[in-house]
């Protein structure tokens, strides 16, 4: 979330934010109350993984699992800076040590295994720590007979982990394959943005796939496609609604209704 503008009125200082959708100024606290959805145009602001968990699960029900699995640097990768320094710094400052939070909790009283990708950690990219945490969550859900819910927000593969990152797509697909045979219901929730190796593996393998309203979802990014084809893309290209009309997601849901829609599905389970 960017650009928090401080506006000083007569006696008080209030925080305002400009909507990325309709450009209106919004009162920040009201926006938070509205689950970070613009009350005027319905624009969905991006959530942190922690906010997502808060909005989805029953208050206080979340129990984090596999927190001890942390990003490593398999290639000793260096671009503008060493990757090792980058992950160490994020860990020190933000407390995150991978791009996913995994655990279990309840949704309107129903136990679920939940994985939420953290876009705020290197763009929610698919590194080996995420691969391992999510794999363990999948098998945890099988062992404990829990529905599996994964909320994606990811730019795709973690380039700094090279081929190891690519192989996480295979690893997670193998795990999901086992869940399909021995598990309950896997609900994949696609939020803005979900791209690349994340989309082309576990995110598109849900028994049920729900896209959050207006989310951008695809494999190749729009810029890459425009550069390759030299054509301007349609306005709704790669939106949640576009995926729905092309038959690749089961439903598009507004953030306010997400918990309720998931609850309905979970309650249908035998």
């Amino acid at each position: 979330m960017k650009k928090i503008v401080k506006v000083i009125t007569k006696n008080e200082s209030k925080e305002w934010i400009r909507c990325n959708g309709c450009k209106k100024l919004l009162y920040y606290e009201e926006l938070i109350e509205n689950k970070k959805v613009c009350p005027y145009c319905g624009y969905h602001f991006r959530l942190t993984a922690k906010e997502r968990i808060e909005y989805l699960l029953d208050n206080g029900s979340f129990k984090e699992l596999f927190r001890n699995i942390k990003s490593d640097d398999p290639l000793n990768f260096v671009d503008k800076e060493p990757y090792r320094a980058k992950i160490d710094e994020i860990e020190k400052n933000g407390g995150y040590s991978s791009s996913i939070i995994t655990g279990e909790g309840t949704i309107n009283g129903i136990n679920v295994a939940l994985g939420v990708l953290a876009f705020e950690y290197i763009g929610g990219s698919l590194g080996a720590a995420m691969g391992e945490k999510l794999t363990r969550l999948v098998y945890y859900a099988i062992e404990n007979n829990l529905p599996l819910i994964v909320v994606s927000a990811s730019g795709g593969a973690r380039m700094q982990e090279g081929i190891i990152s690519l192989m996480q797509m295979a690893k997670l697909s193998a795990a999901i394959n086992d869940y399909k045979k021995n598990g309950k219901l896997y609900i994949s929730i696609l939020t803005n943005p979900t791209y690349g190796g994340t989309t082309a593996s576990f995110a598109m393998l849900g028994d049920i796939i729900i896209a959050e309203s207006k989310a951008m979802i695809g494999f190749a990014g729009p810029r890459v496609i425009e550069q390759t084809t030299k054509k301007k893309l349609k306005e709704d290209f790669q939106t949640a609604e576009f995926l729905l009309s092309h038959g690749f997601v089961d439903m598009v849901v507004e953030r306010q209704n997400l918990k309720q829609e998931i609850t309905k599905l979970l309650e249908f389970l035998p």
């Binding site: 490593d72 690519l166 996480q168 690893k171 697909s173 995110a203 190749a220």
Partner: protein, 308 residues
Amino acid sequence: MNTKFLPFEKDLEKIYLAMERNPKDLSLKESFNKTLKEIYSKLEPFDIVEIARHPERPHSEDYIQSLFTDFVEIHGDRCFGDDPSIITGIGKFNGKVVGVLGHRKGQNLKEQLSVNFGMANPEGYRKALRVAKLISEKFKAPIISFLDTPGANPTEGAEERGIASAIATNLMEFFNIRTPIIVVVIGEGGSGGALGIGIGDRILMLKYSIYSVISPEGCASILFGNASKSKEAAKSLKLTAQDLKALNVIDEIIEEPYGGAHRFKEETIKNVGDALEKNLIELVKIPTETLLHMRKEKFLKMGVYREE
């Protein structure tokens, strides 16, 4: 010897031109071979990227032509169309029935254009899965998959028809194919587009091929902020066969003569054939349930992370 010289082969090209002018000077030929060996024994990762992309490098079609007899090509995904960028079929390898999958890059510019330089569409991946199932279920035959693509097709059409969904489905469903699968990276193993037909029991890689999550150019422009840093990016990405073997991602490196497969097609194809034969003999002995379990475990254990 007459081939397109790569940027790091300048010295070789000079000698070659001298040989053209003085065909009787035998010392030049000697000097050519010596220089070739020198250059190829100290290649940088980006040099290998260029060899892997050499237009005259043998492609899936060449391996199929040379290694398989009675090859029957199978077309179409029974959904939308037939993607020529992925070739699928069935034939005989050393007298035994095998199924074949592979990216098709094309032998000349016209063909390259018609197969979109090996960048496959969703229907290509769906065809590959359909044929893999057919081969394993009806013919009970093992499958050989040749990887050689810059990546999946990045176009509006590919997205509309669900390229992500097609690749994801393959990644999952190939774990259920009940006959052995050998994957051979013969040129460019370009990201998800390669992995989409890259799940197998053995992953072999030619010495001068690459396998990477992103092209060095793409990585340079995103992470280094400058597309001209491709050489640095190629080094950082650890995309050579040697790197991947060290990382335990591949099982075996297939030898390729100094000078590369584009200069020594027959020898390279023979090396691939030998490696396939050796691995097939091992794999067909493994009981099906064990095979499937091992395939899954192979990929489940891929990953480097800290556990504290």
